[in-house]
Amino acid sequence: METPAILAEALTKRYRPDAPPAVDMLSFRMPRGATWGLLGGNGAGKTTTIAMLLGLLVPSGGRVTVLGHDMARDRFAALARMNFSSPYIALPARISVAENLRVYAHLYDVPQAEKRIVELAAQLQLTELLDRPAGELSAGQKTRVALAKALVNRPELLLLDEPTASLDPDTGDWVRGWLERYRAETGCSILLASHNMAEVERLCDHVLMLKQGSAVDEGSPAALLAKYGRDDLEQVFLDIARGRPREAMPA
């Protein structure tokens, strides 16, 4: 059987011994080539889960295996094969887009780095921006640069934290379309955390619903809509977030 992109086993994180767990016994197996959505309200444990998957955060219990590598013992081997993008973690603002991409091409030991940068710039419409300082770009341009950084090493697994946050609908749609094409072309596995339900519905073939650190439901967007008898994922999300009993839901 092919090793999964991500295998989380009873993953638990407590920031303090006396505090409730931020993530509580979370287990899932995300297959290669899939796009999964991590949904949940603020404080549901999405960021903590992603941080543990990235090895930024040591779990209090349980185990994470990424692309076959145990993150407790062999995280650097996994990190070389994956990448991450978040609007909440910036790229150095004073250096140019090309310099930023060059830095990460070196950090990820990308062969033929300059060729890769030119290729990514063309794909993500960044060619005209390569010499501009990253801090002088618009939100949409910064998102595209962050995406280029996340793709510089041709990752087999991409973790995206709110990839279209603060983007206008047109740019957000462009990014979603681009991610769809990228996955189709490369077979890259994608795990994204998002508050944009339409985005999750469009991009994800499986959704993991988190509440207070635990997975409360999961399934394909279509299956969840059918299960909750709703027309869109936003309503499903609200049902779960507000703990509405299923019998109170519309038929």
Partner: protein
């Protein structure tokens, strides 16, 4: 260290060099304090030399030599710590820590940046001392290279401690990056022998590599001899402090991973 590791270290160094290329105030800041120190100590030395009616005063050499060598330790520590702070200020640490860059490679990259900053910062001051005050740092002989290396290593040891505090307390501890080594100046015995200190303070001074370097510098300038004992002790202390601070850094890095501090190091 394999080729990929060297490339990752270069990636970190390249990021800082690119920053300096685009920020002349940062480059100016590198040279500002060493040059200012040299101007002040140059005039003090000229005054003392005049009082003694001896322009080739040995005191001049000790003051200028002390000021220049101590700048190496200061710039070495600041170069390392401030390069790490640059990553905090640019909110880039999250990306760095999820890349395959190992903590030891991060440290190596910061050491390389520190070395570059020392050369760029101190070289103009050395040139100034030679041109305006006729003081050649290398007049002490080749042993000066050993002094420079010993002080560079001490700066790195202190910087590892400061960086550990930054990992623990975030940018709230950043003033330490500028001040911590200044606080050690009285015990480093830059301008006076260790024997001048009260007896109870002397063990503190002798635990610092710098105090032995400056004893060695005075031996070179006053007696024209190499104080091998002090030099050896300086390097032994450097090794001990570096090993201890590296352990503290690694422990603090792991603690930061447990606490989740790497996600949001900031104020």
């Amino acid at each position: 260290m394999n080729r990929a590791a060297l490339r990752r270290i270069w990636g970190l160094v390249y990021r800082h060099l690119a920053l300096y290329r685009r920020s002349w105030p940062r480059v100016l800041e590198l040279m500002y304090w060493p040059v200012l120190q040299m101007v002040v100590w140059g005039f003090v030395t000229a005054f003392l030399a005049g009082v003694q009616n001896n322009t080739a005063s040995l005191a001049a050499g000790m003051l200028l030599g002390g000021a220049l060598l101590w700048e190496v330790a200061l710039r070495s520590q600041m170069g390392f710590s401030i390069s790490f702070l640059e990553e905090i200020w640019s909110r880039n640490l999250g990306h760095i820590f999820v890349s395959p860059l190992r903590p030891r490679e991060l440290v190596a990259g910061l050491m390389a940046m520190s070395l570059i900053r020392v050369v760029v910062g101190v070289a103009p001051a050395v040139l100034l001392a030679w041109l305006f005050y006729a003081f050649g740092l290398f007049a002490m002989g080749p042993v000066v290279v050993a002094f420079l290396v010993a002080l560079l290593l001490m700066g790195w040891a202190v910087a590892l401690g400061v960086t550990s505090l930054l990992l623990r307390f975030g940018a709230g501890a950043e003033t330490l990056a500028w001040s911590v080594l200044f606080g050690l100046t009285p015990f480093a015995c830059v301008f006076y022998p260790v024997g001048v200190l009260p007896a109870w303070l002397q063990p503190v001074a002798l635990a610092l590599p710098a105090a032995h370097v400056f004893e060695g510098m005075r031996a070179a300038l006053l007696q024209g001899s190499i104080a091998w004992g002090h030099l050896g002790t300086a390097f032994a202390l450097d090794a001990a402090w570096l090993a201890a601070m590296a352990l503290v850094f690694m422990r603090q890095f792991q603690t930061a991973r447990v606490r989740g501090a790497l996600l949001n190091i900031g104020e």
